[in-house]
Amino acid sequence: MPTPGSPLLELVGISVSFDGFLALKNLNLQLAAGELRAVIGPNGAGKTTFLDVITGKVRPQAGDVYFRGRSLLGCNEHQIARLGIGRKFQSPRVFEQLSVQENLSLAVSEPKTPMGLLRHHLTSTQRQRIHHLLDVVNLAPRAQHRAGSLSHGQKQWLEIGMLVVQAPRLLLVDEPVAGLSDGETERTADLLKSLAGDHTVLVIEHDMEFIRRLQTRVTVLHQGQVLCEGSMDQVQRDPRVVEVYLGASQEQQP
């Protein structure tokens, strides 16, 4: 049992290498319950790999991941998901052949086994959650449409909706506003902020304006390591960040 005050998620000395290329080097990170955390870093800093490690997709060569005091190493993706870690992927991944509502009902279903789906109907609470979420992500009018027919931004939201409807303890959100309009970005920021507190949220994003809007603690990754942590203003003033970030962005950003 996690003691009160102990971190919800803790990464200890994680190292990951692909064919000799070190994607993560001795990475350490802690996340407290109810926290909203932004992670930024130039391309290739290892942001997505870092999420892959938490969700069990990539097994680190060294180090350990603890969630509520329990090691996640050796758990499969679905087991980790069932522990209460939800993930939104970088480019929106929803089930395009299913309708919006069907996407959400798959996410909300419990237990997530063949027999569970066949035997149990959705409870009224679950249905209410779906309706509520449809309103939150503004997709109620399109509930019966195929997800494939949604716009990019709507898919992003649907995916966030699918995350939230599961009521996970920890939300891992990978570039939620890529390709969204300003208005949509704003609403997404508000949504994530409103989720924090009840949930713990970790956001990875390139969009600095968006991060600033979140008004939260920021972690900067660089070459697979934590470069620094702090508020957005602190981080932006850190000379190391300016160096790697601006330097890198000049070379790498198209």
Binding site: N76, E77, H78, R93, F95, Q97, S105, S109, L117, Q166
Partner: protein, 375 residues
């Protein structure tokens, strides 16, 4: 409530269909009826393939294994309970005499019981499929790897059944025409008529079962596995039991289909496990339209009828036609024929031929999306 009016055509279709099924045996010759019954039983295996391939994205090239297992189970029971058949020494089925077998192999024993046989027709193939599926899916082997492994498994079963004369009569297979079921000779016209009706009934039930499965959240989970398995995992689903279960179910359906096919064609042989037959099954589904249950059934029926008629007229050309069909469906008609109709294929074709102005205005598009939303 407004739906009731739009249900009328469907109801009418059902009544006409039922009348046709009841009347058919007196309308066509016993030979054609028998063919129809057999092809209808193939529609059941096609439904299973549609479940695993059309909905779940697992292309099995080994359904012949389960099909044949169902057929062998039935034939073993019939051979054991064949009163008045000529017998080998010791009262064993006749073929054992050819190889000097005196003692009934142990796995034949339970097939004396009709109840065991009925269960085994579905459960044995399901168990084999489930085991194979579990071993393969557990390791996240999928895509073409899965297809190849199923094909290899098929070859293994083919070799085994072909090679084990003393156990199962090898290449010759087991025959049922001269055996008796419920006092009637299986090959007789009366029995064949009953079997036809039974096949219609079972095909219908299977269709209803599959429809129920794919329309609910279980079916949605299958589609999700097909389209983005990794995403589904991150929603907390473990795809392995889903895949194993649906593969086992498809195996059971194949077994039932094989049993019906065997009693109607009079023989089960290792040829049912020959690689081409299993791949043909996939073509039926592909041509009919994978991911649509009607398409799978219609594909099985129509292609087999076509094969029968064409090979009666020009035996040499069937391979060309079959190969061509494959290429056509795979390269241009990906949704199969039913899919093509659903996606407005006929209108597009007419438009392309200049017979009808193309409708590409906004109202038309809106109409299309609304239709999509409805089904």
């Amino acid at each position: 409530m407004a739906n009731i009016r739009s249900r009328w055509p469907q109801l009418l279709l059902g009544v006409v269909g039922l009348a046709l099924v009841v009347a058919l045996p007196s309308l066509v010759s016993p030979f054609r009826l028998n063919l129809l019954g057999r092809y209808l039983s193939l529609a059941i295996v096609a439904l299973g393939i549609d479940l695993i391939w059309g909905y779940t994205g697992l292309l099995s090239l080994g359904q012949g294994i389960f099909f044949a297992l169902g057929g062998y189970g039935t034939a073993m029971h019939l051979q054991l309970n064949c009163h008045g058949c000529s017998r080998a020494p010791g009262g064993l089925p006749e073929f054992f005499g050819l190889y000097g077998v005196q003692q009934l192999p142990w796995f034949w024993e339970p097939f004396h019981s009709p109840w065991f046989t009925l269960l085994a027709i579905g459960l044995v193939p399901a168990a084999v499929a489930g085991l194979l599926g579990f071993l393969v899916f557990r390791n996240r082997i999928k895509g073409v790897y899965f297809s190849i492994l199923t094909q290899a498994a098929l070859l293994v079963f083919f070799n085994f059944f072909n090679g084990q004369q003393k156990l199962i009569n090898g290449t010759n297979g087991l025959k049922t025409d001269l055996t008796r079921l419920l006092g009637l000779m299986v090959g007789s016209d009366t029995m064949q008529r009953y079997l036809f009706w039974l096949t219609v009934l079972l095909a219908l039930l299977t269709w209803l079962l599959c429809r129920w499965l794919v329309r609910g959240r279980f079916g949605h989970a299958l589609l999700a596995i097909r389209d983005d398995e990794a995403r589904l995992r991150c929603l907390g689903y473990n795809p392995t039991p889903f895949k194993t279960m649906v593969f086992a179910l498809a195996g059971a359906l194949a077994g039932i289909s094989g049993a019906l096919y065997t009693v109607q064609s009079g023989i089960v042989s290792p040829q049912f496990m020959a690689a081409p037959f299993s791949i043909e099954m996939v073509i039926w589904v592909a041509v009919g339209g994978r991911g649509t249950l009607w398409g799978a059934m219609a594909g099985a029926l129509v292609i087999n009828m076509g094969k029968s008629l064409i090979s009666e007229a020009w035996p040499q050309t069937w391979l060309f036609i079959q190969g061509g069909l494959f290429l056509l469906v795979v390269t241009t008609l990906q949704g199969g024929v039913v899919g093509w109709f659903q996606e407005g294929g006929p209108r597009r074709l007419l438009g392309r031929l200049g017979l009808r102005p193309r409708l590409s205005t906004y109202p038309a598009l809106a109409l299309e999306t609304r239709q999509e939303g409805e089904d």
